[in-house]
């Protein structure tokens, strides 16, 4: 059953409003979860749980928000992603836009990758995969 990107966006918007207590006009495509919408680490888990329920999909840990990469010494050096780390990150987050992040791949800037658009694209991809 195909869902248009617009429909996916509306549902993701609803999930973020419920999980973060923000108003729906704050949920724009470019808004970052942590910076603009005030999400904490526990909120990321709440968002994954709600997305699974809203879209009837399974999101294994680390698939939407790859936290395991940060803990790997091969991928992070002196607070910055290594080339190998960046490659791994891109592979596990095909839904994210890395053009800004690549200019300065500091770990502290990683939360900026988690935009509303990245989540909508992730869900759209997932829904296409399951047919």
């Amino acid at each position: 059953m195909a869902m248009s990107r617009d429909e996916v966006f509306k549902k993701v918007e609803s999930v973020l409003v419920d999980a973060l207590g923000v108003d729906d006009d704050e949920v724009t495509e470019e808004a970052t979860l942590t910076g603009d919408l005030g999400a904490e680490s526990i909120d990321f888990l709440d968002i994954v749980f709600r997305l699974e329920k809203a879209f009837e999909i399974k999101i294994p840990r680390g698939e939407l928000f790859p936290d395991d990469i940060l803990n790997n010494p091969d991928f992070v050096e002196n607070g910055r992603m290594t080339t190998a780390g960046l490659t791994q990150l891109k592979r596990s987050m095909p839904h994210a836009n890395f053009s800004e992040f690549e200019k300065d791949p500091s770990v502290s800037r990683m939360p900026d990758l988690f935009t509303v658009k990245a989540i909508v694209d992730f869900v759209a991809l997932k829904l296409n995969q399951s047919g």
């Binding site: 999980a19 904490e40 680490s41 526990i42 909120d43 888990l45 709440d46 749980f49 840990r61 936290d67 803990n71």
Partner: protein, 158 residues
């Protein structure tokens, strides 16, 4: 005064569901400030009652290996309030659980009538990547809580 907001468990299905009871008594100190002249069980302490019910359910599901700490009140809603003489029941269900966290939903009853809902998230402090200076041992599951489960033959950490 003890920080114990459930009196006993009346149901315990490991990994799934638990129900605990709390009797509201006029002799409880905190009711005399909330409010002087008309004691009402504070909703925040009913949220704690649910957190204790759900917290033990979650802890037992992972054999009390980790510290289970309340990380988020996703949502709580109360349609009525409780006063001395009322028997409150907290029914908690595990919705999701893994090594980092657990999500629970719950119904609060006044006698047999549902009067509220409390949905919570707990983090498993030994596994969530935090540096909050927590002591090494499991300070959360004291004897007070473990004693409540003796009637249910539940498994504890090896």
């Amino acid at each position: 005064m003890r920080w114990m907001w459930i009196d006993t468990f009346v149901a315990f299905e490991p990994g799934k569901r638990a129900m605990a009871v709390k009797n509201v008594s006029r002799s409880e100190d905190h009711l005399h400030d909330h409010f002087p002249g008309f004691p009402v069980m504070p909703a925040s302490l009913m949220i704690e009652g649910m957190a204790q019910t759900a917290g033990v359910l979650v802890g037992e599901a992972r054999r009390f290996r980790e510290k289970v700490l309340l990380a988020k009140i996703r949502r709580a809603r109360f349609d009525d309030y409780c006063t001395p003489g009322d028997r409150i029941r907290y029914e908690a269900f595990i919705e999701a659980i893994d090594e980092a966290a657990a999500t629970t939903r719950g119904i609060v009853y006044k006698e047999d009538r549902p009067i509220g809902e409390v949905d919570l998230m707990f983090s498993h402090a030994d596994n969530a990547a935090t540096d909050l200076g927590l002591p090494g041992h499991n300070f959360v599951f004291t004897d007070q809580f473990m004693d409540l489960l003796t009637a249910f033959n539940v498994r504890t950490a090896d």
